[in-house]
């Protein structure tokens, strides 16, 4: 098994041993140091115009997500409307970046967001477990792209990663990437199942080397989902990858980010790790559902000077 279409951090011939050597060379991570760093960044004080700018950017970065067994076309159409126009009373509020749905609902999301800037993303690869044969995962991806998905959120095979079958993980990402054709590929590491920050960093490098456009923390179905320490480690991996290859990979924390305050902390870690070039929805997304209304409430508060009841914001 050899491949040639990977990125320049790897040798021409990619096998599990070469991938193991590559991953061993990834700098180790000191968990205590990571936690201290994010704790220090969390004490940054963001006020007034800098807060307003952050809230606006957060709206534009949100991947509004509905991933439930009980999702229906009706639910997806409602969420799409919210994604396009988050606050019907305030046209200055931008649309969110994307809406994320299950494969069977992609067509409804595509119709409901037509003509807007909102992208449609579908989870694939037998989300959330990823426990299926590779050809089925590829097929599923091809189908959602055919149905009109602009973006694909795939999961890695954590079982294969943890048992050291790095080539399997790598190859699967590469094949899904091919199946994406032009669609944007976000690779979910499910960091809550990887156990250590060293694994998070290695899985990040593996996913980027295999062709990920974005690396994403979590499915939202496993606890812990996104955390600041995990996000910092992934952003540092992105920085190293960018320095080595010149390729700018995006990052998406998902799951558990519910308040504006939390989201601003992620922006702080982003801003101080990768800098302003990453402060755009092209390179950073936040996977969330309830976060959006909290951000809208904060914006309304900044603009009017008083808090509004949650009843003034639509629940979709």
């Amino acid at each position: 098994m050899t491949l040639t279409s990977h990125r320049s951090v790897l040798p021409d011939r990619v096998t599990t041993p070469t991938l193991r050597t590559f991953l061993r060379g990834v700098p180790s991570v000191d968990q205590v140091g990571v936690e201290e760093r994010v704790a220090a960044l969390s004490t940054r004080s963001i006020k007034r115009e800098s807060k307003r700018a952050a809230l606006d950017l957060i709206v534009r970065m949100i991947d509004l997500t509905t991933l439930e067994g009980q999702d229906t076309p009706g639910k997806v159409i409602q969420v799409s409307a919210k994604a396009v126009r988050p606050d019907p009373t305030d046209p200055s509020i931008p649309s969110v970046a994307a809406i994320v749905v299950y494969p069977s609902l992609v067509e409804y999301a595509v119709q409901a967001t037509e003509g807007s800037s909102v992208k449609v993303a579908s989870v694939t690869t037998y989300f959330p477990s990823g426990q299926a044969p590779t050809p089925l995962k590829v097929k599923e991806t091809e189908q959602v792209v055919e149905a009109g998905a602009d973006e694909v959120d795939m999961v890695i095979d954590r079982g294969a990663f943890l048992s050291g079958e790095y080539f399997k993980v790598f190859d699967e990402i590469r094949r899904v990437k091919e199946a994406c054709k032009g669609a944007h590929l976000k690779v979910i590491l499910e960091t809550g199942e990887l156990g250590t920050l060293d694994n998070v960093r290695r899985a990040s490098m593996l996913a980027m080397a295999a062709g990920a456009d974005f690396i994403k923390t979590s499915t939202g179905k496993i606890q812990p989902a996104a955390t600041l320490p995990v996000a910092l480690v992934m952003l540092e991996a992105i920085r190293d990858f960018h320095e080595a290859t010149g390729i700018a990979v995006g990052m998406k924390p998902a799951g558990g980010i519910r308040t504006s305050k939390d989201a601003i902390k992620y922006l702080l870690v982003l801003n101080e790790t990768l800098g302003e070039e990453w402060m755009t929805p092209d390179r950073f997304r936040i996977g969330a559902s309830s976060l959006l209304n909290d951000v809208l409430m904060q914006i309304r508060w900044l603009e009017t000077g008083r808090y509004w009841s949650p009843d003034y914001f639509t629940k979709d």
Partner: protein, 491 residues
């Protein structure tokens, strides 16, 4: 459906809005006397000097300069308290009073933090999150020992020494006060304290707080002034114990002065700590450790990791990462909650830093400074890196006591140890590697009082701190810290 403008993909240049801590919580008087025998008194000397805010160069207050007669009054008051109420107080009562001081420090920590930053120039973030919590922690820790001295030194029948004369520096004014005053009081001594000339205000505020806490008059006396006042305190014949933190140069003078006397002495002096980074280190966390090691408190830290020893195989990559990180440091108004590097403590210190940095450039080291805008007024200095530094350069040998890092390389662990120890100082060192056995191997060989592994500048009241060689002797913190303030078996 309403059409909205397409999402803008322009990156956001995110400037944090100014977020200044309010100074309203602090009331600074126009003029301060000396704190002697439980009250503020005008100096016998009649002399005053201004104390300024180094970030604005504005005068904050006029402070008394204690002369010989004032020192005599303070030492007499301390002796009276030692022979009287304080000396005969049951240890449990003494503990209770020190606990009360600790709680009051916590209650007033915001006020004291603001005062510390105004007078000293350190970022409010640090005085709020590091200095004040540690000050309270030291008093809590030593309060616990006050009635357990027999257990601290079993069988040694520990007793208080008497009057302690303490001279402290300007880099951590209240924290150095706590390191010295807390163990002295816990062991039953009384204190005459001389805070640094440039940072007297927090010690005076603390002195007033101890009166409110109910500390008997004379137990703590605070004499403000410059070096001459310190010399008078140290050489006063009725002082039993001298504790000094400051420069090695002054420490040597004090030791010479005390030669032949029965006064006990502890010295915590300068340092030129080696920060050793091995190839297998967690690099991004090591970068944070190095940044914290040298730019914490503008590098005004005796244990600052001012000599970086990087394994040659990762030198270029590490220096690139370091330069990138340096450019994200926020330098400026210390009262802004987002400031990482504040003001240099005084004009004198700024001149000294400039002089040594100039020597680094003229001796041929390569200088890097980030492109940050410094405030127009006040004493500020850009965070600075030097690469291509040799052991023989002045910037590799002399303590700069500013935000300046000298970077050197090594090839083997033996060479790292040899270079790290090749200094007259020996206060602290740092080691970064993921190999546990190598940490222990290094710690055995590094001649430094403190060795941090995969972290830096960590302090805890239960952990002793102090130096080897010309970094001084005696330990502060922990049970070791009490030892400097007790007599045992009549010794």
């Amino acid at each position: 459906m309403t059409r909205l403008p397409a999402t803008s993909h322009e990156p956001l240049l995110w400037d944090y809005a100014e977020s200044r801590e309010s100074t309203e919580i602090v009331e600074i008087g126009d003029e301060y006397g000396l704190f002697i025998d439980g009250a503020m008194r005008a100096p016998q000397s009649g002399d005053y000097f201004p104390t300024i805010n180094p970030a604005t160069e504005e005068t904050l207050a006029s402070v008394a300069e204690a002369g010989e007669a004032d020192v005599d009054l303070a030492v007499t008051a301390a002796r009276r308290a030692f022979d009287g109420e304080w000396g005969s107080m049951p240890p449990q009562e003494r503990a209770k009073l020190i606990f009360r001081v600790a709680r009051m420090v916590q209650e007033r920590s915001r006020e004291l933090a603001v005062l510390e930053t105004l007078d000293g120039g350190k970022p409010i973030k640090e005085s709020r999150d590091v200095d004040l919590p540690l000050v309270a922690a030291h008093f809590f820790y030593y309060a616990g020992w006050a009635d357990k001295l027999e257990y601290a030194f079993p069988g040694l029948q520990p007793k208080a020494l008497g009057v302690a004369g303490q001279v402290i520096p300007w880099n951590f004014p209240l924290l150095m006060l706590a390191w010295k005053v807390a163990p002295a009081l816990a062991a039953g001594n009384t204190v005459v304290l001389k805070p640094a000339e440039t940072t007297p205000l927090s010690a005076l505020a603390f002195a007033e707080l101890t009166t409110e806490a109910g500390l008997p008059p004379g137990v703590l006396n605070v004499l403000t002034g410059a070096g001459e006042t310190g010399a008078l305190v140290v050489s006063h014949p009725d002082v039993d114990k001298v504790a000094f933190t400051g420069s090695t140069q002054v420490g040597k003078l004090i030791q010479a002065e005390l030669a032949g006397s029965s006064k006990r002495l502890t010295l915590e002096l300068g340092g030129k700590a080696a920060h050793v980074i091995f190839e297998d280190a967690p690099l991004d966390q090591a970068i944070e450790g190095v940044i914290n090691g040298i730019f914490f408190n503008q590098g005004h830290v005796c244990c600052a990791g001012s000599r970086l020893l990087v394994e040659e195989s990762i030198h270029d990559r590490f220096v690139d990462k370091l330069k990138r990180r340096l450019s994200t440091l926020r330098v400026g108004d210390p009262m802004d909650k987002n400031t990482d590097v504040g003001a240099i403590n005084s004009k004198d210190q700024l001149d000294k830093i400039n002089e040594l940095v100039d020597s680094g450039v003229s001796e041929g080291a390569e200088m890097f400074q980030p492109d940050c805008v410094l405030p127009e007024r006040g004493f500020f200095f850009r965070p600075t890196l030097f690469t291509g530094v040799s052991q023989s350069h002045r910037i590799a040998q002399e303590e700069i006591f500013g935000p300046v890092l000298s970077i050197m390389t090594f090839r083997t662990p033996e060479e790292a140890v040899e270079k790290a120890n090749n200094t007259p100082y020996g206060l602290s060192a740092g080691v970064w590697t993921t190999k546990g056995s190598r940490i222990l191997w290094m710690a055995d060989r590094l001649k430094a009082g403190v060795v941090w592994a995969n972290t830096y500048n960590k302090f805890d009241p239960s952990s002793p701190f102090g130096g080897y060689k010309e970094s001084g002797f005696g330990r502060e913190g922990g049970r070791h810290g009490l030892l400097a303030y007790v007599d045992w078996n009549g010794r």
